[in-house]
Symmetry: C14
Subunit: 92 residues, 14 copies
Amino acid sequence: MEGADLIAAISILTAGLTIAIGSIGPALGEARTAAQALDAIARQPDEANTITRTLFVSLAMIESTAIYCFVVSMILLFANPFWGATQQAAGG
Amino acid sequence: MEGADLIAAISILTAGLTIAIGSIGPALGEARTAAQALDAIARQPDEANTITRTLFVSLAMIESTAIYCFVVSMILLFANPFWGATQQAAGG
Amino acid sequence: MEGADLIAAISILTAGLTIAIGSIGPALGEARTAAQALDAIARQPDEANTITRTLFVSLAMIESTAIYCFVVSMILLFANPFWGATQQAAGG
Amino acid sequence: MEGADLIAAISILTAGLTIAIGSIGPALGEARTAAQALDAIARQPDEANTITRTLFVSLAMIESTAIYCFVVSMILLFANPFWGATQQAAGG
Amino acid sequence: MEGADLIAAISILTAGLTIAIGSIGPALGEARTAAQALDAIARQPDEANTITRTLFVSLAMIESTAIYCFVVSMILLFANPFWGATQQAAGG
Amino acid sequence: MEGADLIAAISILTAGLTIAIGSIGPALGEARTAAQALDAIARQPDEANTITRTLFVSLAMIESTAIYCFVVSMILLFANPFWGATQQAAGG
Amino acid sequence: MEGADLIAAISILTAGLTIAIGSIGPALGEARTAAQALDAIARQPDEANTITRTLFVSLAMIESTAIYCFVVSMILLFANPFWGATQQAAGG
Amino acid sequence: MEGADLIAAISILTAGLTIAIGSIGPALGEARTAAQALDAIARQPDEANTITRTLFVSLAMIESTAIYCFVVSMILLFANPFWGATQQAAGG
Amino acid sequence: MEGADLIAAISILTAGLTIAIGSIGPALGEARTAAQALDAIARQPDEANTITRTLFVSLAMIESTAIYCFVVSMILLFANPFWGATQQAAGG
Amino acid sequence: MEGADLIAAISILTAGLTIAIGSIGPALGEARTAAQALDAIARQPDEANTITRTLFVSLAMIESTAIYCFVVSMILLFANPFWGATQQAAGG
Amino acid sequence: MEGADLIAAISILTAGLTIAIGSIGPALGEARTAAQALDAIARQPDEANTITRTLFVSLAMIESTAIYCFVVSMILLFANPFWGATQQAAGG
Amino acid sequence: MEGADLIAAISILTAGLTIAIGSIGPALGEARTAAQALDAIARQPDEANTITRTLFVSLAMIESTAIYCFVVSMILLFANPFWGATQQAAGG
Amino acid sequence: MEGADLIAAISILTAGLTIAIGSIGPALGEARTAAQALDAIARQPDEANTITRTLFVSLAMIESTAIYCFVVSMILLFANPFWGATQQAAGG
Amino acid sequence: MEGADLIAAISILTAGLTIAIGSIGPALGEARTAAQALDAIARQPDEANTITRTLFVSLAMIESTAIYCFVVSMILLFANPFWGATQQAAGG
């Protein structure tokens, strides 16, 4: 069952790296957007509503890339198509 | 079935890295655009409509590169042409 | 039981690297947002409430990417599906 | 059929990396252009039309490099000339 | 008992790297937030209380990512689930 | 036919990397030029014609380096002289 | 006793790298905070007390991440749980 | 014919990397020059002629380094002296 | 006595790298703090005493991380617990 | 004729990398100089002659380093002294 | 005497790298401090004495990290404890 | 004649890399100096003579480091002392 | 005499790298200090004497780290203690 | 004569890399100093003499680190003590 071990090891490594690397961009990006929003509110308190609304739409859009990574990471751990095929082959 | 294992391992690794690396650029890019939009709204509240519209078109365009990566990642996991050929060869 | 050792070793390495790499982005991102909030409060003390509220929502959103990494790290250590399968195979 | 496996593995790896690396430049580039356009609109609302038009032409040009990468990535997965030759040789 | 040695070696390496890499982000992040707080106090001494309170909440949130890393590092050294299983297998 | 497999694998890898790496520079470069053009239009709307004309000439020149890469990438996939020689040798 | 040598070698390497890498962040971070404090004192000498107090709390918090690294480094050298287990096994 | 395969593989890899790496510098360089030219035209519309002329001479000079790379890349693919010698030796 | 040689070699390498890497952060950090202190003195000569006192406390705190590294480096060279155990085992 | 193949492979790789790496510096350098010249012309149109003359001398000097690389690259491909010696030895 | 050769080789490599890497930080750090001191003297010639005194104390403190590295480097070359033990073992 | 091949291969690789890496610094350095000279001429046209003279002396000094690299590169290709010794030994 | 060859090879490599890496920091550092001194002289010609004196003391201090590297490099080439021991052992 | 070949190969590689890496720092450093001198002359033409004199002393000091590298590079090629010993041993 050597091949299955290799697939399991690669899946574990990839699942971790995917979410780890994939969280750098969104975290820094959301921070930049939020920081600018705070700055904008401080300069134009009267526009706080428009700014906050635009901020939340943007954060959701940026968060989406982190969620893509999280989804792939979860698929690799719990719904890995290659692992299923290998297990089936071993049990068949 | 050693070759199939190699293909499965490479597919898993590539699927994860593709979406992980591919999410850095769009996340930072969308953040930059959104931050600038918030700044522009704070400076010209009267132009909020034009700014928001341009922002959403731009975000969609930037998000498209993340979606290319997500599509390739999904193809590698669930519609991998090489895996199909290998399975066929093994079962033939 | 060589394959299980490989999976255990990879799981340990990945669990550590995932949270280590995954903490860089959120830590720097939260710092940037908080620093800007402090700056905004100093410039517009009257808007401290709006600013603080927006800050906490943003921090929660950024922290979420760190939590994704922590969750994957914990899953790898304590609820690793591949380890379970390997142990089952060895004990079966 | 060892050589075919190698070609398949390399094709998968390259297809993923090509679109992953190739999306960083366009994503950051489009973001920069869009951010500047938003800034320009905020400063010169009367020129919004000229600015938007120039923005879209530029975005299309920048997106073209992402599309080159996507095209190569798709060719490698679904119209790979070397894979065809290898399959032909194996089946001949 | 070769497998156990490998797991022990990987655990030691990972425990050290996790806290070492994981301390870079929080240290720089906390420094940035604190530096901005000092700047804000110098500009608005009257708001020192609000600023200090926001600073401490932010520092706690940033420190949390360092603590995640420390927790994982300690788990790997003193409550390593894979080591337990290996020792049990060796002693069984 | 081992040598042909090596050449095919290297050609695939190189074709992908060439266009992937080669798209970073032009994408960022075109973005910089376009961003500056938008800024220039906002500052001197009367010179929009001269600016746009100079912009398009410059974009074409920068795009040319991306096209060099795309051409080499296509040659490697569809008109590879070494592949032809190898196939001829194998068929001769 | 080959396994014990491997564990000893890894422990030595990790102990050194942990404190070496772990000292970069805190050193730069403390420097940034202290530099800003000196700047703040020069601008608002009357607030020197508040500034110094906030500075010391912040330095302590940043130093804490360096101390985590030092603690892990010392544990690896003088209270290494894996080394103890290995020595026990060798002596048992 | 193992040596010829090695030469072919290295030639392919080098041809791709040469133009890929070699396009980064000129693309960014031309962008910088063009961006500055656009800025100069916006500031001094009366000097547009002198600026455009100097711009084109500079772009040509910068493009020359990209062309060196393209020439070497083409030589490696279609007029490779070592490949010729190897083929001759094999056919002799 | 092969294992002891490995431990000695790793100890030497780690001792050197620890102090080498560990001196980068403190050196740059102390420089930043001292540079800011000199700037502060030039701007507020009357506060030279407060500034110098805060500078020295900060330098001591930053130097502490360099000293951690030096201590670990000296322990590895002259009080290495693993070397002692190995020598004892060899001499026992 | 194994040694000759190695020399040919290394010559090809080096020829490509030399001009590829060697074109980055001059391309960016010429761009910087030309950008500054355009800026200087815009600020002092009356000195356009002196500026253009100094620009061309500087460009020539910077281009010289690219030409060194091109010369070495051509020597490696078409006048390689080691290849000559190897061929002579083989034919002798 | 193979082990002694390994220890000698590692000692030589480490001695060189320690002082080479360890000189980067102090050199840049001292330069920054000295540059700021020169700037401060130019702005406040009357405080030249205080500035110079603070400069020399700071330079001494920064130089100390370079000296740690030099000391470790010299110990490795001329008072290496592991080399002594190895020579003793060989001569015993 | 295996050793001579190794020396030839290393000489070729080193000759190329030396001039390639060695051209980055001078190219960027000369560009910086020339750009500043152009800026200085634009600001002080009356000092054009002094500026141009200082510029040429500086360019010559910076070019000298590129020439060191070119000289070493040429020595390695055409007056390599180790190659001579190897050839002599082979012919002796 | 295999061990001696290894020691010689490592000594040569280390001697070169030590001075090469070790010259980067001092060269950039001295340049920064000197550049600031020139700036200070231009702003305060009356303080040229104090500035020049402080400059020379600082340059000497920064140069000292380059000299440490040069000394270690020379020791490795001409007074290498390990080489002496190896030669003695070979000749004994 | 295998050992001598290794020493020759390492000497060639090190000689090239030493001058290549060692020319980056001085080239950039001299450029920075010279650029600042040109700026200073433009701002204070009356101090051109003092500035030029300080510039030349500084350039000489920075060039010294490049010369250290050139000297080591020449020693490795033409007065290599280890090569001499090896040749003597071979001829003895």
